[in-house]
């Protein structure tokens, strides 16, 4: 899997700052929300990269950058040898075909006035050369079938479907242009548990059948572990730790990853009182004014004065076998202490 030719997406130094302005007529920039602040990531064919983090860590902005819904302040996104950031017009439109998105909320991400056939077929209207006009209805029906919906329901409206079925419609729409990469932004968090499993299984089956690569963004660490090959943990616009799912979950080295994992309740009462509980104080600082040096230091129990002045790089360290952005990175298995 480490072959370079397998690389389907390569993002380097992605930065997205949203300006904070003052005044109405004479606008002046008084600061910036540093939503994404220097993120590198690689995605290989057939692989799922999970991105976890709490609200406000920049994971959804990252998703928007990757699919080209936002222009990065700086950085490069290379897909099939082309830097998406530099493209514009028809070339950008063509490049976007290859990377599609599934949204979080299946209620607001489907236009209530369009039929399911129009929703799933809309990508063909934007990219008329993808499928000839005469074949579009057929193509949409095939997509409905592929995601486990009844192809005869092509003329129904979104409100006639349940939440789980709507998410299937969103997935079918993302698949319409046969992309290699799908960015899923919290695709199951709005669904009930019994429906979640159906959608997760569908995503896994489609990956096997179509050879898709996923970027799977979620705050639910259990779901991410289930579906991901590799995992990146984000905090305040930066990746603080990344590695194989087993490394992140069983040998976390960054204090934030450890705290995050220890805070997730495990559905097994026998572990009560036998788990390592790290309770973080306070809330995530504002991304408009992140702490100097290491951004996690204000909530970290390991923080030293050194952390305030020196920003830790995401790298392999003496006691951290996979990349970790902590000066004092060290393995601590927070899940299996019983």
């Amino acid at each position: 899997m480490s072959d370079v030719s397998d690389l389907v997406l390569d993002a380097r130094g992605l930065v997205k700052h949203f300006p904070i302005t003052q005044g109405i007529v004479f606008k002046s920039k008084i600061g910036a929300v540093r939503a994404v602040d220097g993120v590198d990531l690689q995605l290989r064919r057939g692989e799922t990269l999970g991105i976890v983090g709490e609200s406000g860590c920049g994971k959804s902005t990252l998703a928007k950058l990757l699919v080209g819904l936002e222009k990065p302040t700086s950085g490069e996104i290379t897909v099939r040898g082309e830097n998406m950031v530099r493209l514009s017009g028809p070339a950008l439109r063509r490049a976007r075909r290859n990377i599609q998105m599934v949204m979080q909320d299946p209620y607001t991400s489907l236009n209530p006035r369009m039929t399911v056939g129009d929703i799933i077929g809309e990508p063909y209207a934007i990219h008329p050369d993808a499928v000839p006009r005469s074949g579009r209805e057929r193509a949409v029906q095939e997509l409905l079938d592929l995601v486990g919906l009844n192809p005869d329901h092509i003329n129904r409206y979104p409100h006639q479907f349940s939440g789980g079925q709507r998410q299937r419609i969103g997935i079918a729409r993302a698949l319409a242009l046969r992309p290699e990469i799908i960015v899923c932004d919290e695709p199951v968090s709005a669904l009930d548990v019994s429906i979640q499993a159906q959608v997760i299984n569908l995503l896994e089956r489609l990956q096997r059948e179509l050879g898709l690569s996923y970027i799977f963004i979620a705050h639910d660490l259990s779901v991410v572990r289930h579906i991901s090959d590799r995992v990146a943990v984000m905090y305040l616009g930066k990746i603080v730790e990344t590695g194989h799912h087993k490394a992140i979950y069983e040998q976390p080295t960054h204090p934030y990853t450890q705290a995050l994992l220890s805070a997730v309740p495990v559905p097994d009462p026998r572990l009560r009182g036998h788990r390592d509980h790290i309770v973080l104080e306070g809330d995530v600082p504002s991304p408009a004014n992140p702490p100097s040096g290491c951004r996690f230091r204000t909530r970290c129990w390991k923080a030293q004065p050194y952390c305030a002045d020196h920003e830790p790089l995401l790298q392999v360290r003496q006691r951290a076998p996979h990349p970790s952005a902590c000066h004092y990175a060290e393995i601590r298995d927070v899940l299996h202490r019983y």
Binding site: A197, H226, P269
Partner: protein, 337 residues
């Protein structure tokens, strides 16, 4: 102030909900949200009511609390006994004496549960002024004390802030402070941490457990999160289509679920501590409350279902052990005995 302790029997169960029925009469028909829910709660105990959206868990809480929107909601049967007194039979004036004083509630979304145009301090102090007849100054002192108890830093200054000036976790703390202000014996928490991040969720659940322990308060935790339940509950009632289909102590239910729905739910969640294979799926959808299937409401989605499950008679509550019941004809098969 009327004396609300009249008629309360200190030896009776703290809270006993018996065969509660609630329906919503809408233009599209009658939605039977709660169809005979029964449970009890002892002091110091945590009962989790577990279920998916639309199973009637929040409506049950609202009916117990007496805050059901009516119309369209109507309690059509059953009893809510608080120390032996049936709250459903009380006049609204008397019922009000129970709310906040005896039974308090916290909600999922603190931002919409708090009043945006009053300061947090005013809203807290109001409780003491209205229910306890305290002066403004005394009520303010109590309000600061409460914010301190729920560990809001710099409570003295923050008391003059409005709800939107607090972060999500801090707002939840304010709501907890408000619920606990009048020392209730029962606290109903309806999805208290669903909108919060996991690290904040851990803080809030820890705080709730601590306050519950200090006050020996009974806690009803309404949630869909089987992880949270495993961490804090003593007993669990699993709800499906307005009915409690299984009730058991927490250790038993996770080790050996007796109802097919509970079992399927537990098998359908991904695990944090190991990477599993394909998830088990519960096929189909939860039923519409205007059209609940005959017999056992779960039968169209159940792998154990046979003809008897489709009959008009729903399965009775079979007693499995001292504190365990399940409504399924095939308990033995599900348990694997």
């Amino acid at each position: 102030m009327t004396d609300i302790s009249v008629g309360l029997d200190p030896r009776a169960t703290l809270l006993h909900v018996d065969d509660l029925h609630v329906e919503f009469r809408t233009r599209d028909g009658v939605a039977k949200a709660v169809n005979g829910a029964s449970f009890y709660l002892n002091p110091g105990e945590t009962l989790a009511i577990l279920g998916e959206s639309g199973c009637g868990k929040s409506v049950t809480a609202q009916a117990v609390m007496g805050i059901l929107d009516s119309p369209p909601g109507h309690v059509t049967g059953g009893r809510v006994l608080y120390r032996g007194v049936d709250l459903l039979q009380l006049a609204e004036k008397d019922r009000r004496q129970f709310r906040a004083n005896r039974i308090a509630m916290i909600f999922q979304d603190a931002l919409s549960a708090l009043n945006p145009v009053y300061t947090v301090g005013f809203q807290l102090a109001e409780l003491f002024r209205k229910h306890r007849g305290m002066s403004r100054a005394a009520a303010k002192v109590k309000a600061i004390e409460l914010l301190d108890q729920v560990r809001i830093p710099a409570a003295k200054e923050r008391i003059n802030d409005y709800p939107h000036q607090f972060s999500g976790g801090m707002r939840q703390r304010v709501m907890i402070a408000m619920a606990l202000a009048l020392d209730p014996e029962v606290l109903i928490a309806d999805e208290p941490t669903t909108a919060l991040d996991v690290t904040v969720q851990a803080q809030i659940m820890g705080l709730l457990a601590e306050l519950q322990h200090q006050r020996n308060m009974g806690l009803i935790l309404i949630t869909h999160d089987m992880g949270v339940v495993a961490d804090v509950a003593d007993r669990i009632s699993v709800m499906y289509a307005g009915k409690i289909v299984e009730e058991a102590p927490v250790y038993d239910i996770y080790a050996r679920p007796a109802h097919p729905y509970t079992k399927a739910l537990l098998e359908s969640i991904p695990r944090l501590d190991h990477k599993g294979r394909e998830l088990n799926v519960i096929r189909g959808l939860p039923p519409s409350l205007t059209d609940i299937p005959q017999g056992c409401a779960f039968h169209p989605r159940c792998g154990y279902a046979r003809d008897i499950c489709r009959m008009d008679q729903e399965p009775p509550a079979y007693q499995i052990a001292a504190h365990r019941i399940a409504r399924c004809h095939f308990i033995r098969e599900v348990l694997g005995v």
